[in-house]
Subunit: 432 residues, 2 copies
């Protein structure tokens, strides 16, 4: 079917960041076929959607998270990091079955869709369940089984095989909506030789890598103590950066580490809200952007956020670095918008398919109700989207040209059932 | 009429921060008459409201702003502070008439009401217009004509008389919903003798004072250069703190200045989002709270935010200080909630009337739709309100027992008319 959306304010997020007023986008078979002024004739189109008073923009890309952990939203806040992990998160996560993952991830998928995220990265366990839910929901995702190597060699091997089998099985699945990565959890949770084995497997499968890196000062010091070098140099030595790599957090970095990341074109998932909430610190985002390092945005899990609204992450990225550096010019709105969209696509090596509204790209887009007070005066839609909007302002969401959210309601998953399931599974977990 | 709200999750924000599950609040003639378990008999009540699946909490208190400036939302972002002020804000504000204030403030009132703020502070010009709108809208406000003293003595006098006349006329108006303050704009915009005259007038009228203080390092240095002391000591010498005083921003403070503020019980309006956006810096909130200084929350204007959703301010206050201090225990959720409610009431000297849900207080409360995914698992409502909610989740708003917002729609002002008016008035402003 040929569909055209007309009378929209279109944020293309193309190379020039063009904003088109009273414009149109058209798509067919899930691919954008037109972006520009409203055509003189609409007779070619079988479906015509009037987006008067609405902003149409690329779906957001959430480049780091653990969706199952939405099951632990609000369970434990405001605790020192190690106490939070050791007495709260780990004991409950240890009880997670595929059924817990099913309902936690379902909760996350509905939340992300309703707040305008069309593509997400997930690093967790029971990933077949996650992939099945992505397929069912209509979303797009880059998935990886995150492996922790602090275990006997046979368990390491089993986890690696499981991660590889998952990655091979699902890459390109669900009409191309699902792609995969290989994921050593982190340098502090995987011995060097285990990381090397995972990198070798990424070569074999021709897949990128995703890893937590330099989230806390403790982790950096631990790396120095254990291996004699900071995490970036350590991972460089292990050959990680010879593969396309997305690192999450990247908070504590020296100038030399930034140089290495620039050299290897390492992609970054900046998670400002999680980094603040856990007391991890503030990443050097303006320095990364100045070096041309690709910085995208991630929510991390709902346990350290506590929601998956990427609009909040976008506003935070635009605000935080201005304030901390006392530089009101740092990370302007246009750059924050790119971090949430096209840089997100680049960070997961999919900029040829998603991240902007341009002919030939996938029809992954969201429609914002900009007739509300928050968007007045109707002056600068990029400013309003970054500084004034909330994910709750998203009304319609399309992925591959298929509508997944209509007037704020998810069409592909039943919200009531998912809420009931999530509460039921949370109740099964033994708390101390 | 006697009204009771039943089956609600009630965040009382009383001294113990009690959360009541499946509970009730009742009110009559605008005053809370009951807060507790659902009574056995409801036969006393003429109106019974079922709040099943909803959180009922005190209306939020926004303790610093310039509501008319919503007319400039998104007009100029991402500029150095002086350029922003001198080339963008001031030239346009100089063109503001009472009609501009009418539509800018109307936009702000609707936005605040819809996102759960029931009481706000406004410091601006054309304040009669603002007060009329507050009266019409049903909101509660503490208003002041902010005076800038960088002008000839006769103009200074004229402004002071205008501010005094406004304060005297409106204090206690609109059934007590409007109260007033006297407001020297700042130490860097008012000569010392002018500040002393304003303080004297505050004594005569028996009103508190509201002033910008120590927002930027530039301002502090300016004070040292001009008067030989930092702003806190300077204002202390001028007798400001002998009156009840609310200072906005309070970003750059020494330990000695904190001691002075503690000694005089100076109240603070913390505006974290505006401070970040303008590159002003990060206030020492944990240090203030540790000293027992009252820290409330303000949005500042939409020109430096760019919305008036106090839920965002609450989450930011809970996150920012954890991250910057690398201390995940700083400003816990319970404290952030209090900053947005009861501390806000204390900051404007109204804690006997508003800020918590307790018998005898005004029936200013909001109802949040907590059946949504963002509030699941339904475990810790305070955590969810602070870390997961958005002002967009507010469905119903009551002030003095009168419903002002119903299912997300403002009942007392017409949103379409206001949006049209705001855009019309924005268009009249000459931009360079």
């Amino acid at each position: 079917m040929k569909t055209i959306v007309i009378h929209a304010t279109v944020l293309t997020v193309n190379e020039k960041n063009e904003v088109l007023h009273d414009a149109a986008i058209a798509f067919e078979n899930g691919v954008l076929t037109y972006v520009g002024p409203i055509p003189d004739s609409l007779s070619d189109y079988e479906e015509i959607i009037n987006a008067q008073g609405r902003i149409v923009m690329p779906g957001l890309v959430n480049t780091h998270g653990h969706t199952a952990m939405s099951l632990l939203r609000g369970y434990a806040d405001d605790l020192p990091l190690q106490e939070w992990l050791e007495t709260k998160m780990w004991p409950l996560e240890a009880q997670f079955t595929a059924e817990h993952v099913r309902w936690g991830t379902s909760l996350s998928i509905i939340e992300m869709l309703k707040t305008g995220t069309t593509t997400f990265v997930d690093m967790y366990d029971h990933m077949d369940t996650v992939a099945e839910l992505v397929a069912e929901s209509g979303m797009r995702a880059r998935l990886c089984r995150g492996v922790i190597g602090l275990c006997p060699p046979d368990v390491q091997t089993q986890k690696l095989e499981e991660a590889s089998a998952f990655a091979a099985k699902w890459n390109g699945a669900a009409g191309g909506r699902i792609t995969t990565m290989m994921s050593p959890h982190g340098a502090y949770t995987c011995p060097p030789d285990y990381i090397e084995r995972i990198v070798a497997r990424a070569y074999e499968l021709d897949l990128p890598l995703h890893i937590h890196m330099s989230e806390t000062e403790w982790e950096v010091q631990q790396n120095v103590d254990d291996y004699g070098s900071r995490p970036v140099e350590h991972l460089e030595k292990l050959g990680v950066f010879n593969r396309p790599t997305l690192v999450a957090h990247a908070v504590h970095l020296t100038d030399e580490e930034l140089d290495i990341m620039q050299k290897y074109d390492v992609k970054v998932s900046h998670n400002p809200i999680s980094n603040l909430k856990l007391g991890s610190g503030v990443a050097r985002v303006p320095d990364m952007l100045a070096k041309g390092i690709c910085v995208s945005l991630g929510t991390d899990s709902s346990a350290s956020n506590n929601n998956l609204d990427l609009f909040e992450e976008m506003k935070m990225a635009a605000l935080l670095h201005k304030g901390v550096r006392k530089d009101p010019v740092a990370v302007p709105a246009t750059e924050a918008l790119r971090m949430a969209t096209i840089y997100g696509a680049e960070a997961i090596f999919m900029e040829d398919r998603i991240g902007s509204l341009e002919v030939g790209k996938q029809a992954d887009f969201i429609v914002i109700d900009s007739k509300q007070v928050f968007f007045q005066p109707a002056h600068d839609p990029i400013s309003h989207v970054v500084y004034a909007a909330s994910g709750r302002d998203v009304k319609d969401v399309y992925v591959q040209g298929v509508q997944l959210v209509k007037d704020g309601q998810c069409l592909t998953m039943d919200e009531t059932t998912v809420i009931e399931g999530a509460n039921r599974m949370f109740a099964t977990l033994e708390k101390k």
